[in-house]
Symmetry: C2
Subunit: 326 residues, 2 copies
Amino acid sequence: MTIAEIAKLAGVSKACVSRYLNHGYVSEEKKRKIQTVIDATGYVPSRQAQILRTGKSRLVGVILPKINSESIGGMVAGISSALGDRGFGILLANTENNVEKELRYLELFQQGQVEGVIFLGTLLTPRHRQILQNYPVPVVVLSQQVDYLSCVYNNDHDAAREITRELLDSGRKHVGYIGVTNRDRAVGAARRAGFLEALRERGIEIADEHMIVTGFTLEDGNAAAQQLFERAPKVDAVFCATDTLAVGAMQYIKGVGKRIPEDVAIVGVGHSRMTEIVSPRLTTVHLFYEDGGAEAAKMLLQILESGIDMKKQLKLGYEIIRQDSL
Amino acid sequence: MTIAEIAKLAGVSKACVSRYLNHGYVSEEKKRKIQTVIDATGYVPSRQAQILRTGKSRLVGVILPKINSESIGGMVAGISSALGDRGFGILLANTENNVEKELRYLELFQQGQVEGVIFLGTLLTPRHRQILQNYPVPVVVLSQQVDYLSCVYNNDHDAAREITRELLDSGRKHVGYIGVTNRDRAVGAARRAGFLEALRERGIEIADEHMIVTGFTLEDGNAAAQQLFERAPKVDAVFCATDTLAVGAMQYIKGVGKRIPEDVAIVGVGHSRMTEIVSPRLTTVHLFYEDGGAEAAKMLLQILESGIDMKKQLKLGYEIIRQDSL
């Protein structure tokens, strides 16, 4: 069964069948006719033949720092669903938080096996910029704001400011901070700045040594809380830059016999599943990870279709989730 | 820079450079020589050129039912790490729990874009069998046992039996069961059989209506617990086929004012992160998801290298995790 034969049976042009198979524009009526023929004949387009015919792989490279994380899993689910709807596949590159691997995959994906790249960056170095600015296929950056590429990112600054306002509304004055390196501009720098802005608004000061910078794990959160309370036993309100850090900190706080929220109020960012499971449930900010993934995929598809990359920057929303930890 | 030039500079044969670039056997000494030349000249093999030269894509298709799940995320991390070590990439197919999509991806991957497939199956129908038995590239099934293909799977039966023995060791007699459909042979049928075997050993009976079959979510676990306790208010021990179901059931049990473990003991299977976070911490069985993924990838690579598929079946181990829920 060839495209010509399908076209003949459906009574449409070959170009029309080709557009249909490549998810281009076809009128509803012609779609129905072509689909009827395909259903009746069991035609499956050979992917290799399709690539040779169109010069297009219909693959998108997705570069991510790790796969077994709830937020990243959500983003990939969104990407996969939006791309799958349009007949695109995902070529997955897991860099295991290794910047060298990240750069190597970026170089590899230049070699024509993918039509575009979605890049879930954490730390963007000058070398990233150098590679990405001259990239031969379109790139959309997901979860970090960059001004030299199309990107989809969370409103980390305002989300952190709003949840800190909630924390301060409880009337607490002795505030502690647990976060990550500023080199991560989204989770580190932006959330830190939002937190500090809310403090400034209320005229509340925080000593540098009450701001703990650590890694991303539960254990990091637990150890950071220990450090914080050893330095500042009077702390009665803790902002954590991620839910995972907050849940780790809660383990420490409950372990030393302090009550949440009576003795210590605590908030996180992200609204991960575990915030509903931990006791008390963690007050946090919902971020739209799955939608963000879908938006990045749609942005990339639009660039591929139109041939124009307008370097759009899509900032996502957020939503305060009031639970029981303050 | 061509392979011939690298060979000349390194003082080795072209075939040797080619084997090196394709991760075939090369002596340590020659490896060093070739790598020195590559480092000095910055040679990057074009992937497209490589595919044309070798006829091999160096890609493995990974078909999975969803991506944003902790256990599947762990398996993919293991697959990705083992394949990455050997220069293979992952072409990801997320079927969103849709059997039709699963079959469509299996058909798509026959068309030469991947060298092999790792298939994370949940429900394996006769149509799966029909496609998989005549598959043109090697397939390894992960997390389900099948006798007609190479596979890597958890010892679901014995893991469920052992954790049920632990549950019964607490002296409880009124046992309830929350699990999933038997059409999922691993999580459904095998865990159910292991549970029932432990009951038989102790001469404990369970009425059919105290065995609830539900879906896979927290909400399913919560609703199933409600159904169970409405039918059997005296139940003092609950086996759940997954940690997620157990945590959902715990929410219900705590919500109606019963104490865990004083009034009701409960166990799960899987040792997910949330079992450490929930209060009380859930007693469960550790399953080796990440190792399982790595083993499946290594099994596939061995088949690709040797050209022989011995249809090996690798059954993984398990480990009882005693926490605070019984």
